[in-house]
Symmetry: C2
């Protein structure tokens, strides 16, 4: 079993690779990203790592010429950058995705080839105003170029699957929380910062009110969604190949209460309130809650309390200890 | 006022041109299609007609270099052909549409330019299974490559509009009935054939049962949708720029009853029943009914009885007389 992961150097890509190595069912990995991904520790099979730009002529073809059995496409220009650089966003998020799908179709014209394709989409395909909960049949009216590019990728994935060129599934990830690493400038960063930084004894800034509600899942759940998407029978999906993943709808206030329960008042006191009208406005257009019946019926699972999300961070990132 | 119509040689394109000439507000037309459109009779202003392929390098740029105030994009490879020829469908229905939108954006980078763009989409963006009525917030899960390409065009239109590159609106047309001309091989052809042919004293074949329900509007309504989309204020649409148009939900049996009322038993006897399982299967995946609240609130109107649809055909195509 040969697995190709595109975007393997990112946070989700690295965690997914490690999980797949631990599972032990793959005998070959091809790991690509714009910077060369690390070779996973403890893997006995063949590993090729490669730094490349999927949007460049011939790159998708060269990756697909090896006929991987599974292709996980995680690579993307993130929301803020796709909004700031229109051409670059469309080039990477749309053209490169289409080049990948086309390379698979053309490989299959030489001799039969129908790999599993797992595409990571995003709840950014939805745009306000929203119903109380976004159901499985709600329309995609993105309010960013990034969300537009992901929604187009979903449509292409469904059409290429329907035509039999590959066996595809699109996974709309919730916001990943607690995201490990340093605080960054993403507008959504605070959802993780206000937990991760206090757990490490550091101060964090909260730019919005405690009543802000959003849709979360842990990095461990995100990896679980992807491995399930790789291994499950996709026939029950029919022609509707894109799924909103389960998650936890919680307010910032509920996040803070969970932090208090898990790490105590000392941690909570490290959250500094600095209201930022720009971030407040951006966040007000984001989804707050979903009803993900299809994904639930298909066995996808996420956390049900924020205490659990915080404990997963402590286990997976902090060696089980609060700093 | 300079109006560019792409796909001007088609049935809707010709009728739209004639209506706009009669309205008298344009002083210049550029009419393009894969075959050169006819110069409209009785127009005093400047008319350029041109046979060209919008997907070819430089064609979109050359059309947009003239800075038309209104751009109506009707050109498309139809459903059956886009399904039979995957490359050609994506090239014309997706790449050419994107080339047009990009040409407008790039023209606007030279000096401010923000034309009105009217894009014709289709109810083919929806795919079965459906609710009883398809509402304005129902998701697009096309079951054809044509429907996929139209849904992608809608997403691009909304994003280019949101970014301020043009002022766009996407119009999802119902099936046009009664379509003038000869019977053709389109799977949907019989909806028009069973009315048009008997009205002309000719036999017509009905390949499905009388209980088949579908969504219709006259050619006159289609032109009305487009002229309204050209002239109305689009600000109330916000970011949601694509609209299902109103229509008439009717069964084949209701169509036949209307024919009986308008043209008598003699016409109805010209319908020959020849059940065709292939056409039955295709039609079973098509939308049957819609609830088009947004379009109605914005003043878009269609026929409310099939008698009216038939009378419009008699007035507009048969000089007011039944043959």
């Amino acid at each position: 079993m040969h697995i190709l992961i595109i975007g393997a150097a990112g946070m989700v890509g690295r965690k997914l690779t490690n999980r797949l190595v631990a599972d032990g069912s793959a005998d070959q990995f091809t790991l690509v990203d714009v910077i060369a991904p690390e070779t996973p520790a403890g893997f006995k099979g063949k590993v090729v790592t490669r730094a490349c730009d999927l949007a460049e002529d011939g790159v998708a073809e060269s990756l697909i010429a090896e006929r991987p059995d599974f292709i996980v496409h995680l690579a993307a220009i993130v929301s803020g950058e796709a909004e700031a650089d229109f051409d670059r966003g469309y080039r990477i998020n749309l053209d490169a995705t289409r080049a990948l799908f086309e390379a698979i179709r053309r490989e299959g014209m030489k001799s039969p080839y129908r790999p599993r394709v797992v595409f990571t989409s995003s709840i950014a395909v939805f745009g306000a105003p929203f119903p109380e909960k976004i159901g499985d049949e709600y329309f995609t009216t993105p309010l960013t170029s990034y969300g537009t590019q992901k929604a187009i990728g979903e449509l292409l994935l469904a059409d290429y699957t329907r035509r039999g060129f590959f066996d595809g599934i699109g996974i709309r990830l919730p916001t990943i929380c607690v995201r490990p690493g340093k605080p960054n400038k993403a507008a959504s960063g605070f959802f993780s910062n206000i937990l991760r930084e206090p757990l490490a004894g550091q101060e964090a800034i909260l730019p919005v009110g405690e009543d802000v509600r959003h849709w979360h899942a842990s990095p461990r759940s995100a990896v679980g969604f992807l491995t399930r998407a790789m291994s499950m029978d996709l026939a029950p999906l029919g022609a509707r190949r894109n799924l909103s993943m389960p998650g936890l709808s919680a307010t910032v206030g509920e996040q803070i209460e969970a932090l208090r329960r898990v790490a105590g008042e000392k941690a909570v006191r490290l959250i500094r309130r600095e209201p930022d009208p720009v971030i407040m406005k951006i966040v007000s257009g984001w989804p707050r809650d979903f009803e993900t019946k299809r994904a639930a019926a298909l066995g996808f699972k996420a956390e049900t309390t924020f205490d659990e999300i915080i404990r997963i961070h402590i286990e997976d990132e902090l060696g089980g200890k609060i700093g």
